[in-house]
């Protein structure tokens, strides 16, 4: 969506990046679009810092993980029902389930692309599998024991493989049917501080990207698991905290503790856009796209605001008070509609929805 809108009428194979670089041309740039107004509502409260959130691919469920080691699962339709002015017989409970199975803080979550499985990676060095369809299961039904703090998990689009980004500099690839773990056969440079903050597959599984503590963004081949590009110092010496692909796999959006958000061309490793103006130096801040990839959302820790950029023009189009006490730690946008979740260091979860 993003690149489609950006490259209307531009069919040249390499013309894309030229277009990006020429953003100084005012007539090509155009004016920024307005980001629709959202309403926000307190959804639930963990017993400790809410650390991460993930929507299911169909947008029906959202799960949040917390430092209190629990995972909450919400049904989005129920959240929306809850937002209605007067629901019958008191408030609707949007939390479908709470899982207490980890013994240390939960770092990241992912839903199986087709099934009803939720996986979680936690500091206790495990990856746990929860069957969302089982109404009375409170615990995982399957566990992968890793060797490191599991900081990030990402399902292969087939759902047969799972990537884990850990304190180890190389992503761990698991075959979820055999639990066999695979590593890249040749890793270029073993960075001393290469712990992976985030790992994400592209939508076909042809590539995956990691954002690591040494500030590098690395692109890995989905077939051989070889590191095909290493953008060292993508965020200077500051940690790279998030990295995601656009849906067409041509660009990577990364966020770092140097208070920058950057868009990279995956093919060339070239920096094409920067989104500036938000301060994020403390938390593992996320830069995310909205469902249409027209906008980018992130956090300003200093002013405790949600900041929204027009993805195309890089202009800030909105700044909203986060309504959390202290800057929120994580943002996650629904893949199907204008709604997102913020997870606060104040333990609370807020739901944002276009009004």
């Amino acid at each position: 969506m993003l690149s489609h809108q950006l490259f209307i009428g531009d069919n040249a194979l390499n013309g894309n990046s030229v277009f990006w670089c020429n953003s100084s041309l005012p007539d090509l740039k155009g004016s920024s679009k307005g980001f629709p107004k959202h309403e926000t509502r307190h959804l639930s409260e963990h017993k400790n810092v809410a650390r991460c959130a993930r929507f299911s691919p169909d947008g029906r469920f959202v799960a949040t993980g917390s430092a209190d080691t629990s995972i909450k699962l919400f049904e989005v339709s129920k959240i929306k029902q809850m937002l209605l002015p007067d629901a019958k017989d008191g408030p609707v409970r949007s939390v479908v389930k709470t899982y207490y199975d980890h013994i240390q803080p939960v770092n990241d979550l992912d839903f199986h692309p087709q099934g009803t499985i939720l996986v979680s990676g936690a500091k206790d060095q495990t990856i746990k599998f929860f069957d969302v369809s089982k109404t009375n299961a409170k615990r995982s039904y399957r566990v992968i024991q890793d060797t490191h703090n599991v900081r990030s998990v990402s399902f292969h689009p087939s759902g047969d493989f799972l990537l884990a980004g850990t304190d180890h500099a190389i992503p761990h690839l698991y075959d979820i049917n055999t639990f066999q773990c695979y590593l890249s056969a040749n890793v270029p440079d073993n960075s001393p501080n290469g712990a992976i903050n985030q790992v994400r597959y592209s939508c076909t599984g042809a590539m995956y990207v990691t954002a690591s503590k040494d500030g590098a963004i690395r692109l890995w081949d989905g077939i051989t698991a070889n590191c095909v590009r290493s953008i060292t110092a993508a965020h200077g010496t500051a940690e790279a905290t998030s990295a995601i692909f656009t849906r067409d796999q041509r660009f990577v959006l990364s966020c770092g503790k140097d208070s920058t958000i950057k868009l990279w061309e995956a093919g060339s490793g070239r920096l094409v856009k920067q989104y500036l103006g938000a301060v994020h130096t403390q938390l593992r801040c996320q830069a995310i796209f909205n469902a249409t990839e027209e906008f980018i959302l992130s956090i300003d820790e200093l002013n405790n605001e949600v900041v929204i950029w027009d993805a195309m023009t890089t202009d800030i189009v909105a700044k909203w008070p986060s309504n959390h006490v202290g800057a929120p730690r994580w943002l996650e946008h629904s893949p199907v509609e204008s709604a997102f979740i913020s997870c606060g260091t104040d333990r609370s979860i807020r739901f944002w929805k276009e009004v």
């Binding site: 002015p85 087709q114 206790d124 024991q145 890793d146 060797t147 590593l183 056969a185 077939i223 051989t224």
Partner: protein, 725 residues
């Protein structure tokens, strides 16, 4: 017309009205309720506005309009509040009125899941009634008891509270009697409470705030429709096993509530009516149909369904009235309405009435050829009057000569008469007057007719004429193609050739046509190829071009050997469960298939080592999962298990691993014990590589200190036989 059922504007309008004085608000409410006659929340707001100014007559009038259509507890509670207020100062007579109102109300909404507070209010009202002497007192007691006994078998949110209240009540009346009564009602209460829990799930699915709008096909509407359907099925199943009358009452209540929200859904109305009819109360079904017509005046389906019900129970006049309604004032009646009326008349009043009506209908401006065809078939098939039918068709032909479908119908009719002379004449007449583009089907039928009725010469002649008519160039026309032969000599589903012959023929025909335009052909081929690809339905949501990892190009890493922080030490649950969770699904599936063994448990380690020694056929695939999970080290070279070759990379992976060698999890310990056993039992050579040897020695050293604990193997077999057996 703009969307008149716009929910947002309705809500804003209602909000506005709330702020206005009653005189100004009334027309707004009336307008809103015209559109949303079942919106209980608007009715409530409307009536409350009147209550604020004590406009009793208006209140009564509004209640009389809405109560029976809106079975919503808050609205009804509003009603009871009003009744109580009005009758407050009227002494005994007023109390009697109030009591009746309560009864009336509970009769309607007493089965609602939210009706608990109403029951409580009624009970406390009854308790508050003054009782002069002992007789009155005991009478009051009986009444209260009866209400309690109804309330505690109704699955509401407050059922547990009501039960407690009831227990207290009985105990306060008489401790001796209480025991008997409570134990008598306990089972009924228990089943009601169980049903409540089930029922609540269905109620929770429903959006009680929704306004009734005509279906637009949105996902939310579909979800709500399904939620209602599920609730209805649930209630129809009589989950509480109560008597039919009470159960039916609940179903009726559910349907009524459903229709508040699904007011514009003909299927719900129909279901409701048929349910009534099936459960024997035709009159109720008729009433539902009448209401449905008020709700959906444009629904012909419902009218026909209604007429059918009337007709089938013998109420011909009523049915006739419905049909006449469908005809309207005659001028704008649809052809279908004419036809159905003719058929209805023929069924109920006989040949003459139908004929008479047909003669009238002919003059209607909306009379199409369908009416002629329909009446002709009535005359032919029902009246057994081919002459009449023929006349009708002939009369119609003057009017509908230009309708190819009419010609075909007429030809069909004549075919049934076996009147080939007339058929031929009809085709000739029609083809001479029909424009070419309308005559395709007629030509086809003509050819087919000649194939059935004609001789070879006439057959070929008609085909030739058809080709000429369609201007296929003379050469192509004169060469009769092989396909024509195929079409002449196939019968029903029997063909004089195979289906690939047909493919070839059509392909060749297509090639002939495009022989001269090669460039275009390429484009078209590409185009069709694309379309073909696109038309393949994708089975799952996986993007079509998913790229899979090639794990053979990667190193195998075995993180399992790290000190188990999660698997073993996460206390509280059964350690076996935890082990099972960390076992690959394939192995779990294998374990689940193992039979339960009573009697002596074999030594797992010995069995395993025997397995390892056995020479299994090589056909076994490495994917089986089990081999790859076997301890890698001692795998003998003689084994053909594909897994054993797989297990070597595990070790190389291990060697790379910087941490996690000092401690061993249970899993590791098993490996070691196995090492011991295999070496002693099978006297295998010691591992060759240095790493294995070191590990082996370490194992020796530690196993003695740890064998005291239950070994993995026996724990596994013990628990498994326990769980499966």
């Amino acid at each position: 017309m703009v969307d008149k059922y716009n929910i947002e504007s309705a809500e804003t309008l209602a909000n506005q009205a709330q702020g206005l004085p009653i005189a100004e608000a009334t027309p707004i409410y009336e307008q809103l309720l015209q559109l949303f006659p079942t919106a209980a929340k608007f009715w409530k707001q409307y009536v409350e506005a009147h209550m604020a100014v004590n406009n009793d007559d208006a209140i009564k009038q509004i209640f009389s309009r809405c109560l029976l259509n809106c079975l919503q507890v808050p609205l009804w509670r509003c009603y009871i509040r009003f009744i109580r207020k009005v009758n407050d100062k009227k002494g005994a007579e007023g109390q009697e009125e109030t009591r009746k109102a309560f009864d009336f109300m509970l009769n309607y909404v007493g089965t609602d899941i939210a009706s608990g507070p109403v029951w409580m209010e009624y009970i406390s009202f009854l308790k508050s009634l003054p009782a002069g002497h002992a007789q009155e007192e005991s009478h009051r007691m009986t009444v209260v008891r009866k209400v309690y006994q109804r309330a505690i078998i109704t699955p509401t949110h407050h059922i547990e509270q009501l039960w407690k209240d009831y227990e207290n009540f009985e105990n306060s009346v008489s401790r001796q009697l209480a025991k008997g009564l409570i134990s008598e009602y306990q089972p009924q209460y228990n089943s009601a409470r169980a049903v409540y829990r089930e029922r609540k799930k269905y109620f929770d699915e429903i959006d009680w705030n929704m306004l009734a709008v005509p279906p637009t096909g949105s996902q939310k509407e579909e979800m709500q429709w399904m939620a209602w359907k599920r609730l209805l099925t649930f209630e129809k199943g009589n989950p509480q096993r109560i008597d039919t009358a009470s159960s039916n009452k609940r179903v009726i209540f559910t349907y009524e509530q459903c229709l508040m929200y699904m007011y514009h859904y003909p299927d719900i109305w129909y279901d409701y009516a048929t349910w009534h009819a099936k459960s024997g109360s035709i009159d109720a079904a008729i009433k539902v149909f009448q209401r449905s017509l008020k709700a959906l005046p444009d629904s012909e389906m419902l009218r026909y369904a209604y007429a059918e019900l009337e007709e089938s129970r013998g109420a011909i006049q009523a049915a006739k009235k419905i049909h006449e309604n469908l005809l309207g004032d005659g001028d704008n009646a649809t052809a279908l309405a004419h036809i159905q009326f003719i058929r209805f008349l023929r069924r109920t009043e006989g040949v003459e009435a139908a004929r008479k009506y047909f003669l009238d209908a002919r003059k209607s401006p909306t009379c199409t050829y369908h009416v002629y065809v329909a009446y002709a078939s009535v005359a032919f098939c029902l009246d057994k009057d081919p002459k009449m039918a023929h006349n009708v068709f002939e009369a119609g032909l003057k009017r509908f000569m230009h309708e190819p479908v009419y010609i075909l119908e007429y030809a069909d009719f004549l075919t049934r008469l076996n009147d080939d002379q007339n058929i031929r004449a009809l085709f000739e007449r029609a083809l001479s007057s029909l424009p070419l583009e309308d005559s395709v089907e007629v030509w086809k039928r003509f050819v087919k007719f000649e194939q059935t009725y004609g001789d070879l010469a006439s057959m070929l002649k008609v085909e030739q004429r058809r080709k000429e008519a369609f201007g296929e160039d003379a050469t192509a026309a004169s060469e009769s193609s092989l396909q024509d032969v195929v079409s002449r000599y196939s019968f029903m589903d029997l063909w004089p050739c195979a289906s690939n012959d047909l493919d070839n023929l059509s392909r060749q025909e297509w090639l002939t046509k495009n022989m001269n335009k090669k460039v275009e052909k390429c484009i078209m081929l590409n185009g069709t190829a694309l379309i073909d690809k696109g038309s393949i339905p994708s089975i799952s949501t996986v993007p079509s071009k998913v790229v899979y990892p090639d794990t053979s190009k990667m190193l195998i890493y075995d993180p399992k050997h790290n000190p188990g922080t999660g698997a073993v030490t996460s206390g509280g649950t059964n350690a076996f469960d935890e082990i099972l969770k960390a076992t690959p699904p394939a192995v779990v599936a294998f374990l689940a298939n193992l039979p339960a063994v009573d009697g002596p448990t074999p030594n797992v380690d010995i069995v395993l080592s025997i397995c390892l020694q056995s020479d299994f056929p090589t056909g076994q695939s490495g994917k089986a999962g089990i081999p790859s999970q076997l301890p890698g080290g001692p795998a003998p070279a003689t084994s053909d298990l594909s897994g054993s070759s797989k297990s070597h990379p595990v070790q190389s992976g291990l060697a790379n691993k910087p941490t996690g060698r000092k401690q061993y999890g249970k899993r590791k310990e098993l490996d070691r014990q196995e090492d011991d056993d295999t070496t002693t039992v099978q006297s295998q050579p010691l591992p060759q590589d240095a790493f294995r040897i070191r590990q082996y020695q370490k194992a020796r050293a530690t196993s003695t200190s740890q064998t005291g604990s239950v070994s993995y193997g026996s724990a596994l077999s013990g628990d498994l036989s326990g769980s499966t057996g």
